[in-house]
Amino acid sequence: MSELRGDTYPHAPGFVAGDRPQIVTSRFRYEDSHTLQRYLDTGGYQGLRAALAKTPTEVHDDVKRATVLGRGGAGFPAGVKWGLTPQGKFPRYLVVNGDESEPGTYKDRLLMERDPHQLIEGCLIACYAAGLSQCFLYIRGEMALAQERVATALNDAYAAGYVGKNILGSDLSVDIVLHWGAGAYVVGEETALIESLEGNRGMPRLKPPFFPAAIGLYGMPTIVNNVETLANLPWLATNGVDAYLAIGTPTSPGTRMVCVSGHVRRPGVYEMINGTTTFRDLIYGDEFCGGIRDGRELKAFVPGGGSAPWFTPEQLDIPFEGKLAGAAGSMLGSGAVMVMDETTDIPAAALTLTNFYAHESCGKCTPCREGGTWLQRLLTRVVNGQGTQADLDQIFEVGTSICPGDFPHASSEKLGLEAVPFPYKMTTICFVGPSAYAPLNSALVLFPEEFQARLKKRISIPVTGVNG
């Protein structure tokens, strides 16, 4: 078996550096990467200085031209998002989405724990460019260390004049308020995040009309950006648009953090080149995961977080690029790959995700609230060997109530299936409903025999005639 390449650090469990460009993880190698001193020693707050030397419009144009894609899940370009705020309506707010809870993902937690100043600097650049008057940094409730690191970093940054009034002697005056959640997956959806930040139950709002850029926090224009997205901005501002565009592809420039977990030799979080790295590189490459554990065969993998339809070995050569993954029947989502080897019990694996989404439904939309738990009950029955064909049929019917029409799935030469491309139609406000169905649909479509084998055997009771 070939040797794994790349550096790991005891102080950053899970992170693997390699011989690749590092935009957001460049300081992870230092044990004290979270301190202001280390940050300043390694070029920290230079991006902010460079940005302040330009006009806000110029900085905004740079971000647009660099096509910095949102790293939260939807992949929407940040510069375009900033431009969607209505003209002449102020104040505008920035809400940082650090409520990372997508199954398989933990890049934002590492960015907050290991390099909080980079995130703070990114927030300030966004506020400057898009004219955002106050920033709320929402960190997932369960991430105690991330909260401590960001709080410390903010306290230090305030004391040193990087946050608050007249930052670095400029006109820019912005408070960054640390806010923290209390455990709810759906709050990662941007309108639910805003509801939660207003002190309410974290239920998504109907879009339209509640597009945050127009009607967001307290009804004002609000930009909601993911942690990793903002963490890209200091490097971009320091090194320039051309340097950023030189990495990756024109439609997916820069790098991207991806978390690979499950049955691989070296699971971990990797910063990889956007758009060109394929799933084969990622799962089998020596500088990444180095193949499947114990020399086993790959059975299936989740390409983009728990909400994404699954891929099989037939899709290994697809690059990590949003449009291509979408055409193949899935999505890149939050950058989380979960790998299942040949020993995996597919129905049981699907059940863990169905349980997750049934548990995390906020209850606002009926198809998700009822459908999620319905799917959970049906699948539990099948996994326990008590299911029948009627249960499998019912699963498809419930799924169709959440997402009418053909649900996206990968192609399969083996089964003679064409891919159904992304996106799906949906009867719910947010993506939690469809996400409850996505893993189960993939499992059923791509591995029907495993479900059939689980069905309860029909018991035939012999009825014998009296004379027989």
Binding site: G131, Q134, N155, A159, V260, G262, V269, A348, T352, L353
Partner: protein, 206 residues
């Protein structure tokens, strides 16, 4: 003691002042109450309502949405074992079974001595380090049954009190905005005035 102590009341007011609307402080104040008492009491919710301008029922409505808030006492150490896909693939089911045996309680239960509460958690964001667990929101990675035994013994023997605070305390560092540096909350009002740094640029076009 269920209402905020004087020092916590001062912290609560400081938190509220950062937000354009007091109600936004609801979740942080619920955490503060849980930090003080170990769980969220009815009195605390009534007081939070008074502080943020909501009824106690509205505060309860918000609080019950979020899993971290407990409304009756739980163990001093809340052990959350993750069971979502990545951890399940790496043996989380066996780990949970072992924890139940070791502690002598089922999932959701609390030991008689009030030391431990065991819960099943959904994805805790440490997926490559599976199976993972959190004790009062402090991580343990790649946990084997033997490691779990050692962890529980250490917690019982008080060896980890420096690293792991009692249930209720999440972050031990608070944000503090110095009065002379803070801008203050920016209230939502239908203003047409753009922020000064936009207004002052050569061609104000944003």
């Amino acid at each position: 003691m269920a209402r905020f102590s004087d020092s916590n009341l001062a912290i609560a007011r400081e938190i509220i002042a950062r937000y354009p609307k007091p109600r936004s402080a609801t979740i942080p104040l619920l955490h503060l109450a849980q930090e003080q008492d170990g769980y969220v009491t009815d009195d605390a919710m009534a007081q939070i309502g008074e502080l943020v301008g909501a009824s106690s029922a509205e505060v309860l409505g918000t609080a019950t949405f979020y899993e971290m808030f407990k409304f009756k006492p739980v163990g001093n150490y809340l052990i959350n074992i993750c069971g979502t896909l990545s951890c399940a693939l790496m043996g989380a089911g066996e780990l949970m079974h072992h924890a139940e045996q070791k502690l002598g309680i089922p999932v959701g239960g609390t030991t008689d001595d009030g030391m431990f509460t065991l819960e099943h958690a959904e994805c805790q964001a440490a997926c490559s380090e599976a199976p993972c667990l959190q004790v009062n929101y402090r991580y343990r990675y790649k946990v084997t049954p033997e490691m779990l035994d050692g962890l529980i013994d250490d917690l019982r023997d008080g060896k980890l009190t420096a690293e792991i605070p009692p249930h209720g305390t999440v972050a031990r560092v608070r944000q503090r905005i110095p009065a002379d540096r803070g801008v203050g909350a920016v209230p939502p009002q239908d203003a047409t005035d753009m922020p000064v740094w936009l207004r002052n640029q050569p061609e104000a076009s944003a």
